[in-house]
Subunit: 227 residues, 2 copies
Amino acid sequence: MTARSTLNDQAAVTETTELPAVKSSSFRSTAEEHRDDIYNSLFDYFRNYTKLPLSPFDQRLIRDAFKLKKLRRRQFLVQEGDVCKYICFVVCGALRIYSVNERGQEAVVAFALEGKWMSDWESVVTQTPSRYHIDAVEHSEILQISPAELHALEAKIPAIDEFLRLEQRLVAVTTQKRIHTAISMNAEERYQDLLENHPEYFQRFSQNMIASYLGIKPETLSRLRKR
Amino acid sequence: MTARSTLNDQAAVTETTELPAVKSSSFRSTAEEHRDDIYNSLFDYFRNYTKLPLSPFDQRLIRDAFKLKKLRRRQFLVQEGDVCKYICFVVCGALRIYSVNERGQEAVVAFALEGKWMSDWESVVTQTPSRYHIDAVEHSEILQISPAELHALEAKIPAIDEFLRLEQRLVAVTTQKRIHTAISMNAEERYQDLLENHPEYFQRFSQNMIASYLGIKPETLSRLRKR
DNA sequence: TTCATTTTTTGATAAAAGTCAAAATATGGC
DNA sequence: GCCATATTTTGACTTTTATCAAAAAATGAA
């Protein structure tokens, strides 16, 4: 394994601290290397996404703007009533955003696995208290940035500017699809649709959470699965 | 009535051709004035949205890029299988985007009244055949632009660049809300939610279409309304 | 590994929403 | 304004999904 791990290789990132440094000539600790790996994964992500280069100066700006944060399983990133201050890039792990109604029933609005973004867009854009909770479903490592700092990077770094344009389009496409699924399909069709489009969710999230994401009860999902 | 009509004053726009020119000294036809009104409403829209100016040169670029199109009631703008080539600004009238499944059941993904945008984002971004129909619910006037031309304007006109950034955020906020509504509320709650957030829809769209937008049957909506 | 805790499954029943058919009402194109 | 056409309402009945309770299975922390 090289010091530079890929985004999708979760084990590579999380186990780095347990392995000896590959280069014996290095004076740097494995913790420092792990930190470098994490930022490198973000640089790779932007380069791959945009096909644009990032100068060492750009990388320094990005490194300073994105703050690394570790979340334990079930730890909250945002709780209902908080103003969501950051947009988060998931380096490894899994997050969810969900609401809880008067009866205590949860509704999962979105999941984010490694290489995806998570925020309460409503709260972060309008700087109003969130109606949602965001928490870590697994032990996770994330890179956070405030909207103001992201805006500043956008103005300075062409790759970030391009990334935001491309990402915005992708968001429009995926949300249009999700709305269509929610209003036009019954429980069984929504389940089949999720199986096809996000089989990985079934490996990473509990049936309870999947059911909530589909807008059905866990008992109903269990019965659909029996067929 | 002045030559320059407002966006929301639908009658003002549609009746222009039936009225004598206000300025008797003008050599321009009422049809030409109507055309000017339409583009001016778009310029006003961008200026209001972004609080940035548009130079006469900017206005010329925008005028050349956005093509005016009139749609009769029930006329298709996009049919399933077409590649959606344009992003549309609704000057007056009302459009909807909807799918039709194997059984002929319609599902309305979105409505657009005057001052709103309409496109099949999935098709227009990926240039793949659309899974939806877009048609005019009322006689409508729209301004169309291709994604490539919009991209070119974005690079040349700061107000357009800023508009796209702001609009993207709004889309993220509104779609997150719609997804939450769809998965976490029952039929009655979704109906109440729409009454609060889009009372104007009930004035402009049939119960059939509203029901389809809410993901319920017209009979169910009729029964909810009786309460 | 054990064991307390959480998650999933199963069964019985209730509530919500859909289906089909027909009548009442509204509408828009001439 | 008329009238064919489309839309909305109503009723009887079916299907789907939710609810509640309890058992079975899985999971994770010590």
